[in-house]
Amino acid sequence: MKVTAWADRRSAPHDPRTAAFLGVALGVAFSTCFLTGLYSHLAQHPPDWFTLPARPAGLYRVTQGLHVISGIAAIPLLLAKLWAVFPHLVRWPPVRSIPHAIERLSLIPLVAGAVLQLWTGVANIDLWYPLPWFFPAGHYWLAWITIGALVVHVGAKLTTTRAVLGRDGTAIADGHEPATAGVDALARRRFLVWAGTASGVLTVATVGQTIAPLRNLALLAPRRPDTGTDGFPVNGAAEEAHVVDGATAPDWHLEVVGAAAPVRFTLAQLAAMPQREADLPIACVEGWSAQVRWRGVPLRSLLDAAGVGPDVSVTVHSIETGLYAQSDVNAVQVADLDTLLALEANGAPLSLDHGYPVRLIGPNRPGVLQTKWLRQVVVT
């Protein structure tokens, strides 16, 4: 029974109060991560009952920035939490009752899911793809499984957590005479401060990929909002997407399908139409974002010129083929005049990497839906 004795002789980092503190912090981080992830999923795959709003324009930048930040901040908290409760793994007897067995079984999907979600999430923002499945699909469904296991866990630990975090929780958690309880409280505080510091270090070293003023602190960020062609990041370069020939072809034109007859616009014709400027972020699902001044033709103006009536939604198609070759623009977003067919970014003609000759840019759209290298607008 030596193992049991070791597990029972909980030092402060392994006591219930430490675990409870970290549990609450992780609960906040995981809930934030889950809800913002759910919102991103809705934005990219809207069901019938959901219309992606156009305002506030920076909403997706905030939610997705939060998603990645809360995930990164959770890494040290999760490791500290697992460390705090690690002695329980080898406790004897392993189960004491049927509810206890169910509760312990639910830890398998919880811990496996949490660890896998966090490290594959980091791999994804670092553009590292070692996984044999399609990351977004696996990440999405595993999130439900992990959160479900978390709900079970919270239910199992709610009473204990409330007891040890309550007013007289210190005495319960320490289980010592008051004199030694003070020593434990200090050790616990130090452990929690280290965990919080680790969380803070990773956050500060990455958050500058979306909060531009902090970009010089973003030592461990996979992107910088000021780095890339024309001074902001490129998700996929033109050469990678094999669009260089198509985008620079002399006979390039943008076709609008859906009115009485298809209408074609050359680049010169688009440039001759009234232009509008909009300061909109390009905000990637990977958590980076950059504010850019775009200039171009409002999508709505193009539809007017093509004789398309009001209150329509459209699908825009790219020269690019593959997963992100097209995107839907709902009626609310089409009606928003800041939804542009952009010809310029930050005062310069759009570069090939950013979608020359024309790209879509709209308020509150995930980056993957800001389709580049347009060739066709289909009214749906």
């Binding site: 406790r91 590292w128 044999p132 709900v151 239910g155 709610l158 370069a237 990678e240």
Partner: protein, 189 residues
């Protein structure tokens, strides 16, 4: 508090088998019992905060959480061309083992070694510094290996990550060293 603390009337008398006792009590008046179930084992104060789930919240949460998990499992299987459930499972188990069988034991051993070889005032700063360094290096592994740097796109992993990780690690150890100095002074007093 001890096993001799006042107990609500109508209960079985306290036994030495505190686990079984906790089992019987948990489902009746959980909050009171947490406070009461502090027992003496091998002469050392032991808090009998039960590991078992407590009360109706657990069953409600099991119902709701179980339904959410089932939704995730059904969804993953329904989209199996994309999610590759067997691979997902393999990586999930692998991630669990990587933590429980490799990382956590390594940290345990490192902690024990640090406790053996270091004076008390140096233990905290060194353990903390090692933990933070480990976390930063693990987190930065994909950046250090530059898996995601694309030759056609200079905005992918645009920084000098080996240098940046070195800077962060150096800052961590400057912090740890400052803390060690404070602890050393405290220890001398």
């Amino acid at each position: 508090m001890s096993a001799t603390a006042p107990r609500p009337p109508g209960r079985r008398p306290a036994r030495h088998d505190s686990d079984a006792d906790a089992d019987a009590d948990i489902w009746t008046d959980a909050d009171a019992d947490i406070r009461a179930d502090v027992d003496l084992v091998d002469g050392a104060a032991r808090r009998a905060l039960p590991d078992e789930p407590l009360g109706r919240w657990f069953w409600l949460a099991l119902l709701v959480g179980g339904a959410i998990m089932a939704y995730g499992v059904v969804g993953a299987i329904g989209q199996q061309a994309d999610t590759q459930p067997p691979q997902l499972l393999r990586f999930a188990v692998g991630s669990l083992l990587a933590h429980d069988a490799v990382l956590a034991p390594l940290v345990t051993v490192a902690g024990i070694v640090a406790a053996r070889v270091l004076p008390t005032w140096l233990r905290g700063p060194v353990r903390g510094g090692l933990a933070l360094t480990g976390i930063v290096v693990l987190f930065s592994y994909p950046l250090l290996r530059a898996f995601g740097r694309h030759p056609l796109n200079d905005s992918t992993l645009p920084q000098d990550y080996p240098r940046n990780v070195a800077v962060v690690v150096a800052l961590i150890w400057i912090g740890a060293a400052s803390m060690a100095v404070v602890r050393w002074r405290e220890a001398r007093r």
